[in-house]
Symmetry: C2
Subunit: 606 residues, 2 copies
């Protein structure tokens, strides 16, 4: 498209703009931008087929900046391409969309980056969805060399190779210097190349400041039938003598005045404007959609684990709603996501035992219009917490996470498999919905609600079989609760969810025999929660006892405490000691979350 | 030591015991044990130099079972070695030490395993500490092939090579079958071998059922100057025709009766007893210890960030206490752990950008008698949450984690770098201590307390400089708090920590001018917290307002709500919306945690 001299000059212009905007902001990472200027110039003004007027990325190539701290040069490239017209000198200001690390406030940014090692996984998810839809646009992901130390990069490399994602092209900006010192392998490009090859990729090593060499490598990548990795040897701070390849310049802007002037003088003028010719691929991708509506069909008296019901609901979505996709981490026969695979194997991605990548690909799929549902044991979602946190900031339209095998009620496998922190982890996210069904009807309806809801929804399922509580047509709105037992004489309110709800119901029965009435609330929607009902219960009964198969901190107990605070006495029954192997009933008793424990707590309160 | 036929027979015996104990338990993973029987037999009865009477591992080789679901064969090997005398048939019972996955209830188990892909990192930490101390004993870690999909395995491989840990020998039990289906690479041993080589290891591929071949490989490993990886091709369920190499047998015991009888018959009798000859290495390792005592020396009026004070405290520990070691994830110039490195470079491990491995190695070091202090940006500790969760179950004597750059007060870098969930994450752990200093004096004393305390202690530090509040001799016991402003007329209590404490003090001043008295409490010990002081404040003032640079869920607000619930009105000021780049002061104001916001909240309450 553009000649090499023009591209080189544009690179120089992007460098100047990165320096100027960070100096103006008084913070940022100019030297990390300078190493990748030619890569950005070649990608945006030559290699990628895209339309600067259309951020949807349909029938076009897309770009993910994994090394998010280089945001200034992304903003500069978008500005020079005509894709945005923000003032680059507003970088990092509170009133600017041009944040310190990329966020989707700028619609060209699909996912928030800045926690390193996540870009490849989300690129994989996009590329996987594109293959599914017949979208010909490729996915380019630009990484730093430092972030290749993150294991998630190798999870992402594995997934790309395993799924033959020849539409993924990753570039390592091998600038040798990390934040606090040189990287492990400095300029040894062959180390990275050998690794990618060992993970099943095609590769090229180039001088990352050589426009012609970069063009060649990208052409090679287009011809490859495998994911393609380009290791581009570069210099951090390239082009300015006093920062180039120097330690101590990470995340440091140049000072206004002499420092800035000298740097710009060394870079030389770069009066160039390049027009990006809008280019699209021919084939129109198919993005079929269908209704998300789940009708449970259980009979009272049946015993069904909520994880099984999750699987049953997934099978229904697999059939009715082609926009849904499912991913799992080699636990599909335990989470029951295998039921989705049975119906729609082409829309099921096996993530193997790599939970970070699993969440990353799900997020990537969501940016391609999918409704992704990712599942594993709830405790193993803790592995992906940074990915989940970052996904919040990516503001996905849909992202459903399901964690099975919650709490001590899993029994004999012991603490390593028991999720006791997942409610806290998911509630603490700045934006999230947390659902915790107790019976199969509610579980299926939670899946429906989650697949319809905006943003990140977490569903917590349990291992043991539990009786059906609800009629098949019962509604479970997000933010609601169910008061299962109530009378005018209720002395205490018991709030539970999941397995503990059944303990609460048993406690109710036992106490009733002794003439003690207690209210029982099913808090299936842990976040948002039904504050009105809880406050009413606080006002109408003498105390609230929460009971949860979870840590006492950050879960149901504290959620309730935060909304009823001041209006009632509250006791939190939860798992306070390190659990061990044992039968589920033994463990509920040992940790004080059994029916007996509830009865004891009620008696003590009265 | 033992002849090959005897070792093969012992393997068969270990298989029988694994089958019998899981059948008796009614759950467990016999087929995952059966694939590795020869490996265990050769390791425990031939290769490893150890003393079954001494679980300390001093002057001896040690073993980590990364594939924790194979616990039954570990228990069997320990029993047959004479290292334990538990009844194997109590496996998975609540009254037994022989849990479903290994835990340190059995003293031979140094770290709890069962969340896959963690064993290598902890082995690295042990091996690193052993090199430091001159402990000649080697570290053997046995992994499954499925878990090689976890990126953390490659982080651990990288660390081992980078630190020349020739005392690490990892074995992959390449049994081809994961939990829910075949692994990605099935029996392609060369894939794993190529990867380890690409990560700088020496390797061997062997038939994992061939005792002689295993012996050779271990001998080769001893001669290598690099970490050594053995890829052992095996069959899951080896030795029993109807389960061998068959899908659908993961995590499934054989049924009592015909199934069990047939299996044992096929394995044949294995009446053998082998004695492990106690063997020790000659060199006595040096484990120097020194006093952990930190004396801050600040002057009132100074402005020092708590992260800087953390670094200053580390430098003091580096000097006085040779049992301390520090690790960091390429953020040492931001967390200030570089100050430790400056004093004691040999006791500083650079973890590069790989937080899972960083926590894993720290845990491994703790098992060698070290007091490890691991630091990175607080938000990136979320990356290691599964490792941290598992570390709790490993019951380490000491493990200090420090997260810097807490909350929106970091400013311009934007949400990706802001920890808003770390208090929730750390509080939710079943056992943990959480400290959150506001000034440099408190920060140094928190480091002292953390390094002395048992178990996992998290210290949250902040980016901005803050004034000195306390005298250098002030004491900060874990579980305490400081009431900085108080009068008999206090209308409201404000609870803060970190940057928000200073906002609370400013609010106090402004309100005082209007004749409104408020109490101000510094909750530097977030967990355990000073319930008495908080309850007294709840009784003596009309309401409590908590203010924190964190999510409203799982942090200070809910912690306070849980202890004062019922006795007072409570309002939680916290970060409720997705933050963006901006100046720290702008962000505190925008998210309603500034002095102005506190003043407004107090006025509204009254």
């Amino acid at each position: 498209m553009a000649d090499n001299a023009a591209l080189a000059k544009m690179a120089q212009k992007l460098r100047r703009l990165s320096i100027e905007s960070t100096t103006e902001a008084g913070s940022g990472h100019p030297t990390s931008c300078m190493s990748m200027a030619e890569i950005m110039s070649v990608l945006f003004f030559d290699e990628m087929r895209w339309d600067p007027r259309d951020p949807s990325g349909r029938r076009a190539d897309i770009f993910v900046l994994s090394k998010g701290h280089a945001a200034p040069i992304l903003w500069a490239a978008l500005k020079e391409s005509g894709a945005i017209d923000d003032d680059l000198m507003t970088l990092r200001r509170h009133d600017s969309r041009l944040e310190g690390h990329p966020t989707p406030l700028v619609p060209w940014v699909r996912v928030t980056t800045g926690s390193l090692g996540q870009g490849l996984s989300v690129a994989d998810g996009m590329a996987w969805a594109r293959k599914l839809d017949g979208e010909q646009g490729r996915v380019y992901v630009l990484m730093g060399d430092g972030e290749a130390a993150e294991g998630s990069v190798w999870e992402g490399s594995e997934f790309a190779a395993c799924n033959k994602l020849s539409n993924v092209c990753a570039i390592i900006d091998l600038n040798r210097l990390g934040q606090s010192g040189p990287t492990m392998h400095q300029h040894h490009a062959e180390v990275y190349e050998r690794r990618w090859q060992a993970f099943g990729w095609d590769t090229a090593v180039v001088d990352g400041h050589d426009v012609a060499a970069l063009k060649d490598a990208f052409a090679q990548a287009r011809r490859s039938s495998k994911p393609f990795g380009i290791v581009a040897r570069t210099l951090k701070g390239k082009g300015v003598s006093f920062v180039e390849d120097k330690e101590g310049w990470h995340g440091k802007p140049l000072k206004k005045g002499e420092e800035l002037t000298k740097a710009l003088a060394e870079l030389g003028e770069a009066n160039i404007t390049l027009k990006v010719e809008p280019r699209h691929y021919e084939a129109e991708p198919k993005r079929a959609e269908g209704p998300i509506e789940i009708k449970p069909a259980y009979e009272k008296g049946q015993e069904v684990a909520t994880r099984e019901a999750f699987g049953a609901a997934l099978a229904k979505l697999a059939k009715s709603a082609p926009q849904t996709v499912a991913v799992d981490g080699d636990t599909k026969n335990s989470t029951f996501s295998e039921k989705f695979k049975a119906v729609a194997p082409e829309r099921f991605a096996e993530g193997y035992i790599a939970e970070q990548n699993m969440v990353g690909i799900a997020l990537g799929m969501s940016t391609e219009g999918k409704v992704p549902i990712a599942s594993t044991f709830a405790c193993f979602l803790s592995r992906a917490y940074d990915f989940i946190r970052m996904a919040v900031y990516s503001r996905p339209k849909h992202l459903v996470l399901c964690g099975s095998h919650a709490g001590v009620s899993i029994g004999e496998d012991g603490p390593s498999q028991m999720a006791l922190e997942d409610l806290a982890m998911m509630r603490a996210l700045v934006k999230s919905t947390v659902l915790y069904p107790s019976d199969a009807v509610c579980a299926e309806k939670c899946v429906e609600a989650a697949a319809r809801a905006e943003g990140i929804v977490y569903i917590r399922t349990s291992r043991p079989k539990t009786p059906i509580l609800y009629a098949n047509d019962e509604a479970f709105p997000i933010g609601g609760s169910k008061t299962l037992r109530r009378s005018d004489k209720d002395a205490v309110t018991i709030v539970g969810a999941g397995v503990t709800l059944f303990e609460a119901l048993t406690a109710h029965e036992r106490l009733q025999k002794d003439g003690i009435a207690v209210r029982v609330i099913d808090l299936y929607s842990v976040q948002p929660l039904d504050a009105d009902t809880l406050r009413r219960a606080a006002a109408e009964t003498r105390a609230i006892i929460t009971v949860e198969d979870h840590s006492p901190r950050g879960g149901i107990g504290e959620a309730v405490a935060a909304v009823v605070g001041g209006s009632t006495r509250l006791e939190i029954l939860a798992v306070r000691e390190i659990p061990r192997s044992g039968k589920p009933t033994e463990l509920l008793e040992a940790h004080g979350i059994s029916a007996d424990a509830i009865v004891r707590a009620v008696r003590k309160m009265l």
